[in-house]
Amino acid sequence: MRVEARILLLLGAFFGAMCVVYWFWGHEDAGSIMMLGGTLLGFLPGTYYYYWSRRMTPRPEDRSDATLEEGAGVIATFPGSSIFPFLLGMGAFLSVLSMVFGVWLAIPGVGLILWALLGATAESRRGGVH
């Protein structure tokens, strides 16, 4: 976790330095703001990881001498299969088409999106059954 944190923090620091140089040298707003966004994207998750990396023992995947047994236990639950990503995708598709072919298409589009979001959430809450 500590290496992950360092990578993000270093990238953020580099973007930040570039941003400062660019702002004072170029006085150009759009680029400076976008670089500031990049800086934050390095620092926000970076500090979060750094905070945790100092408070936890290194995970088995952080240690070069870890054995496979140390990784035992449930690492995550993985949905076996689900129709909701497809429905969500179709909802997004119809919503985008509604921007071109008529707003009425947004009705089924947004409907599908809502259905899929609710369905996926309920599915996650039920999680763990196979």
Binding site: R2, V3, I7, L10, L11, F14, F15, M18, V21, Y22, W25, G26, E28, A30, G31, M34, G37, G38, L41, P58, P60, E61, D62, R63, S64, A66, T67, L68, E69, G71, A72, G73, V74, I75, A76, T77, F78, P79, G80, S81, S82, I83, P85, F86, L88, G89, M90, A92, F93, V96, L97, M99, V100, F101, A120, E123, R126, G127, V129, H130
Partner: protein
């Protein structure tokens, strides 16, 4: 509907689930039975398995390569004569716009971070799936529907989008580009943009959280490293484009005047936004292919990769710099800070050069096996070198003022992107056995390589010359100059060779269909995906080897060779 995966069962010989029927099918022949009951089309629609999704991405993106390639064939046919009337001017505009858009947004990107990456990255780090399998499936559906949306433009009254793949303002406003094709283009990029962002999230989370015990960051295969950095770059760049497109849409339909010339708008803002995404995007495209050849060259040189840490460092440096170079695409606007962008762009050549040295260093004194994958990789290095060197010319403002918007730029980025096609083919020949269980025909493969490689150079070399002589890009007809026509004909011949080589690939898929069983590790390769079966079972592994270097499969298969230890101190932990 969830599987609880316990990694302890990975080290035992039998897996917790009954997966015995997973060993002999690609998802699309309908024979891939999940143990969840669904079969056939329903299985495909509901699958959240990264291997099924990776395969869907691969097939869709190669189909896009063929479609985009078909447009290119018409473009090259049009240009064999100065006054050709094969297509009219507006059709020509649609063709080059859709050629570029299909190739960049629908082929190169999704192929780079959606196809092989989806399939291979989790396996390379010993993970059972991507971190967010349902989000991963959503990425694919958004990509597929985005692709359909963009191509729908051809069936609307005004035709497909025709403002170039960069959609510069004010050309892309509602007065200059009134058609529905333009809006479909914007809508398509919203869909594929979110698709890419979700993939970026997924790649980063997977690599941060789902590595097997002992798989420290500095033991990850370079391909996985590059996709981690690609994921981060996606998160940096794509939201900017998506926001920019929403503003463009509002300008077109709600008179927001963000990019207009009057009422307070700033047309050049679009270029800033577009290229702030656009240049990181070229590395989002390139890094995965760098990763592919960095897997392939060591395996076929029978050596570990030369300069592992240098490779990682170079990748990270490229990512860091790529955020500060966007305006080298805007030198001729006259409103950008020339020295800043020139220096940053020239600096990027340094890490890129390190990579090229390391690839050569890996081959140096190796026992080279010239398989198709290896030939394609060498072709990649050579072609990318040409593209990189001409990029250095363009990064110098005085030279760019001369060459901007000429065929020199077209040639530069075709050297680069055709290198990516070579690298992608290398990856397909290398990993197809893992994905399907069957090797591709090597004889057809080598023929395909020579056509593709020679065709690429034949395509671009005349374009470099034409560009220096002043031929502008994006024109359907050119001045009556016999010299120019000859060069254009040569370029077209190269283009047709490339088109033919792509057809050969499709022929090869057909000829080799289920013919040459591959076994688990046909190349005596190094990384974890070659430890499991071909194709891998549901959740990827029946068991894992102990991971003690960045080549776990090699270590397991060659117990007497010395394990290479990298970075034992990288975490300061346990030392």
């Amino acid at each position: 509907m969830t599987d609880l995966l316990e990694p302890s069962s990975l080290s035992a010989d039998s897996h917790g689930h009954s997966d015995a029927d997973h060993n002999s099918a690609s998802p699309h022949d309908g024979a891939h039975h999940e143990h969840h009951g669904a079969t056939g089309i329903l299985n495909w629609l509901t699958s959240t398995d990264h291997k099924v999704i990776g395969m869907s991405y691969t097939i869709t993106s190669v189909a896009m390569l063929v479609i985009g390639g078909a447009f290119a064939m018409v473009i090259r046919a049009q240009l064999v004569a100065p006054n050709n009337h094969l297509v009219n001017f507006s059709q020509y505009n649609e063709l080059f716009t859709m050629h570029g858009s299909v190739m960049i947004y629908l082929f190169a990107g999704p192929f780079a971070f959606g196809a092989l990456a989806n399939f291979i990255v989790p396996i390379q780090i010993g993970a059972p799936d991507m971190a967010f399998p349902r989000l991963n499936a959503l990425s694919y559906w958004l990509y597929l529907t985005g692709s359909i949306t963009m191509l729908l433009g051809f069936f609307t009254a005004g035709g497909a989008a025709n403002f170039g793949w960069v959609a510069y303002a004010p050309l892309s406003d509602i007065i200059n580009s009134p058609g529905a094709g333009a809006d479909l283009w914007i809508g398509a990029l919203l869909l594929t943009g979110f698709s890419a962002i979700f993939t970026g999230v997924n790649l980063t989370a997977t690599i941060f959280y789902l590595r097997a015990p002992g798989m420290t960051l500095f033991r990850m295969p370079i391909f996985t490293w590059n996709l981690l950095v690609t994921g981060i770059l996606i998160l940096l760049a794509f939201p900017v484009l998506t926001a920019g497109l929403i503003m463009l849409f509002c300008d077109r339909h709600f008179q927001t005047h963000i990019y207009t010339q009057h009422l307070g708008g700033v047309p050049v803002l679009w270029q800033h936004i577009f290229w702030f995404w656009g240049h990181p995007e070229v590395y989002i495209l390139a890094l995965p292919f760098f990763g592919m050849v960095t897997e392939i060259i060591p395996v076929f040189s029978k050596k570990p990769v030369f300069g592992y840490k240098g490779m990682v460092f170079a990748t990270l440096t490229i990512a860091a710099l790529s955020l500060g170079v966007w305006a080298h695409h805007m030198f001729t606007t006259g409103v950008v800070l020339l020295p800043f962008f020139s220096i940053m762009s020239l600096l990027i050549a340094v890490p890129t050069g390190i990579k090229i040295f390391n690839w050569i260093g890996t081959m140096w004194r190796g026992q080279i096996w010239f398989s198709t994958a290896m030939l394609m990789s060498i072709g990649f290095v050579v072609t990318f070198l040409i593209g990189g060197l001409t990029g250095i010319y363009l990064a110098s403002p005085p030279l760019d003022f001369f060459a901007h918007d000429t065929y020199f730029v077209v040639a530069h980025f075709h050297s680069v992107v055709m290198a990516l096609v070579l690298g992608g083919m290398a990856g397909l020949y290398y990993w197809a056995p893992k994905m399907t269980g069957y090797l591709l025909n090597e004889r057809i493969g080598k023929f395909q390589f020579w056509l593709l490689f020679i065709g690429t150079q034949l395509l671009t070399f005349p374009q470099y010359v034409l560009g220096l002589q002043g031929m502008p890009r994006r024109i359907a007809q050119y001045i009556l100059d016999p010299g120019w026509q000859t060069l254009n004909i040569w370029s077209s011949v190269g283009g047709f060779m490339i088109g033919f080589s792509t057809l050969l690939f499709v022929v090869n898929l057909w000829v080799s269909w289920k013919k040459y069983p591959a076994g688990d590790n046909p190349w005596d390769a190094h990384t974890l995906e070659w430890y499991t079966t071909s194709p891998p079972p549901h959740h990827n592994f029946y068991r894992l080897p102990q991971i003690r270097s960045e080549r776990p499969t090699w270590d397991a298969n060659h117990p007497d060779s010395k394990a290479l230890v990298h970075g034992h101190n990288e975490d300061g932990a346990g030392h």
